[in-house]
Amino acid sequence: MTMDMSRYLGLFISEASEHLEALSRDLVQLEREGSSSAVDSMFRHAHSVKGMASSMGFEPIAILAHRVEDLVDAVRQDRSRLDRDLVDLLLSSADALLAQVRAVADNKEPAEATALLQQLSARVTTITGHAPATTRVARVTVLKPAATTDAAAEPPANPEPAAAAKAPEASAPAPDETTRPPGAKSAPADPRPGSSAGGLTSGAGAEAGAAAREPRPAESLAHDVAARPAPGLELSGGLQAAAGGALASKPEGEARAPLQRWAVQLRIAPTCQVPGVRAFLVHKRLTTLGTLLDLRPALEELKAGRIPDGYIQVELETSVGDTGIHSALRNVAEVEVVSVKAAVAAPAPAPPAAAAPDSARASAEAGGSRTVRVRTELLDYFLDTVGELMLATARLREVGKVLPENARPELEEGVYRLHTLVKDLHDKVMSARMTPLSLITDRLPRAARDLARRKEREVDLVITGAEIELDRAILDELADPLLHLLRNCIDHGLEAPEERLAAKKGSRGRVLVAVRRARDRVIVEIEDDGRGMDPAKLKAAAVTRGLLAPEAAARLTDREAFLLSCLPGVSTAKDVTDISGRGVGMDAVKRVVESVGGTLEIDSERGRGTRFTLRLPLTVAVVHLLLVEVGDEVFGLPIAKVVGATEADGETLSRSRETALLPHGNGLLPVHALDALLGVPAPVRRGLRPFVVMDGDSGKVALAVDRLLGQEEVVLKPLSRPLDLLPGLSGVTILGSGRPVFILDVPRLLSA
């Protein structure tokens, strides 16, 4: 039986075309400039196309891409092998590949490029001295005008997540309906784990490819599931593993206090200047507690500040009790909680599903009917547009400043309201973009199974914390790296069963994928209990490849040495397989993780295993800055650390042991001249000058600057070598004018 892969076809065509176009670009660049990054990038593109094509069953494409990869690899080993003829040959191969992909797009079988293949093989043989290896291609069906009976007859017990998610379209009950983790309902944007693996996620084709190389009849898989009782550790039951993980990591919170209705009466102080904002804040707090059943006045009225006598009535269904309600509202300024009373559940139209005993399932079903799928481009568009709205609002505020004094208040009120609405919209857009990691981790079990089968390893894959959410943009980027790390663990990390038994380990290897939140970061750990990595071998490999001087290698710590595996071309794997081991993947993994603002760490102990730790930001890194001018230079201070700004005459300030003191509130703050602190030349200032008051490690400090330029929201870039060696800088950004600006880390600046 073969597997129907046609739903990945669109993805394959777009991705393969992209890779091939990039390959040609790189070739041209390489010939022109001879840069080594182009060779690595070419290799990655060829490798990706080979992988995708072989998993989609396009043999002619896979074989041709494989030859190209071999040849690029030979060039990578020795750049001098690249001559004009070779570039011509590679370019025409890339063109031929593109033509094959286009043929596939037209639902035709890709043509065999026999002549080209012979030329490529001949070149590989003359360069490397041996004939190229054969290419493995999955037996899958893609090009079919219509679904045949075997797709329809496939029982829904097939644990492949994407297939399972599709199953509701079939008549039989889908497995994901019964094994849904309770955490899934906290994901309104996409309540079915893995359900969008079919097309929204980039790289789904490549993954599914790895998964599909050794297709097995679904019946025998189902048999496996039944035969092995261990829940949560069961590898072949992909969804079960994910569900078990989610269950295990979910606190018993689901079974906490029953929902209860409360009538809450609040009053906003009559002296309050911004009743609309307070009311909105109250509303926001309460909605986090449970379901708002009734709100008077209505939300629109509240936001507009139209609140008769300041009284607000709320009916709330929540499990936190009256103490919970009180504590949620405790620190909202100018709001008084008049009363919190238990409300009698109105005999109102209770949804029929609420009577069902399986409440988790019922609410999940109800949730399902209230959500829609949204294309990711649309989400991106929303975010961009909201960003533009924020800028436009800021612009309006600026324009208002030139109006005569008496005309301003109304405009300012309007702008203020607009600002709150836009800000709120921004929050909502951001939360709509948050997607549980299960979207990508659900694909891992199946991939692990296929990898393990081919390597004749036995693997238990455990996934925990997959319900944790990340920005969609980061998640999309992460799919391939995660799969690659899994491959690494299974391919290189885990030993063969005999070897494990000899090392007094269980014959079954174990790979743990653990996701957790730590403050504003999400930490993903992928850990195996295999043979571990050898820092000395990695160092030697890097030295042999000419990437590192022997003295530099000697100085590296073990941890730094493990990261050498992320350099292109460094791999200590003895056998080069078509899964991994060519040292291509790890550098891509590191690049992707860093490009989304995260970091990668590798820990390993010989004989005990290896752990990859990915620390990721929750969302794309956006920071609010106060821009200040010192001399001719502009610097950014993180708004989060800024307490205020004031003007004073530096000459008249009192001093203590040479340090000027700025009166602030009831105290005196030490003054630091930012120009001297940064070593920036600036003319001596007389008279009034601005001071920025900031939170330091040991209390507030005042920084003397030349000019305040205003606030700006920017995307933070990490500092690359050697700038990261300087204390006191936390990042860099490029302003709208194109000017790079450093962001200061004031506490470190003061202590260093």
Binding site: S36, L723, L725, V732
Partner: protein, 140 residues
């Protein structure tokens, strides 16, 4: 092997072509890097990347000269975005037979070679990298 040949004042230097990403004209102004060693000219925005630019003259401890630097040679060092500020770039030439350079031994200098009857100092990209990092390391 093909090398990019450039000058600091009248002295000629070479870097393997494979180590050079591109050559650009320096921007009207650099953004100053606070607390950086004096050899660091500043950072520049190269199509959205922030590139650190080092004055080669200072990196190699050469005396000051009258000609303003007119080119930035961008090194291809993986993620490290590093540029060398030089007087001018002459072109790409094949450099063979590199012999030991006179003077103090430094990892940034690989040796000297003859090119068109004149000498050219061949630089070592790895060593240049290390020299820049060393500037930032407090012990030096």
């Amino acid at each position: 092997m093909r090398h990019v040949i450039f000058r600091v004042e009248k002295e000629r230097y070479g870097l393997p072509l494979s180590a050079v990403r591109e050559v650009v004209v320096p921007p009207a102004r650099f953004t100053l890097v606070p607390r950086a060693p004096p050899a660091i000219t500043g950072v520049m925005n190269l199509r959205g990347r922030v590139v650190t630019v080092v004055e080669l003259r200072q990196l190699l401890n050469l005396p000051e000269g009258p000609t303003p630097p007119a080119r930035v040679v961008l090194l291809d060092r993986g993620r490290r975005d590093l540029g060398l500020l030089v007087t001018d770039v002459d072109g790409i030439e094949a450099v063979e037979r590199i012999s030991t350079a006179p003077g103090r031994v430094t990892p940034a200098v690989r040796g000297v070679a003859r090119l068109g009857g004149l000498g050219v100092t061949v630089l070592e990209p790895e060593g240049l990298d290390a020299a820049v990092v060393a500037l930032f390391t407090p012990s030096k």
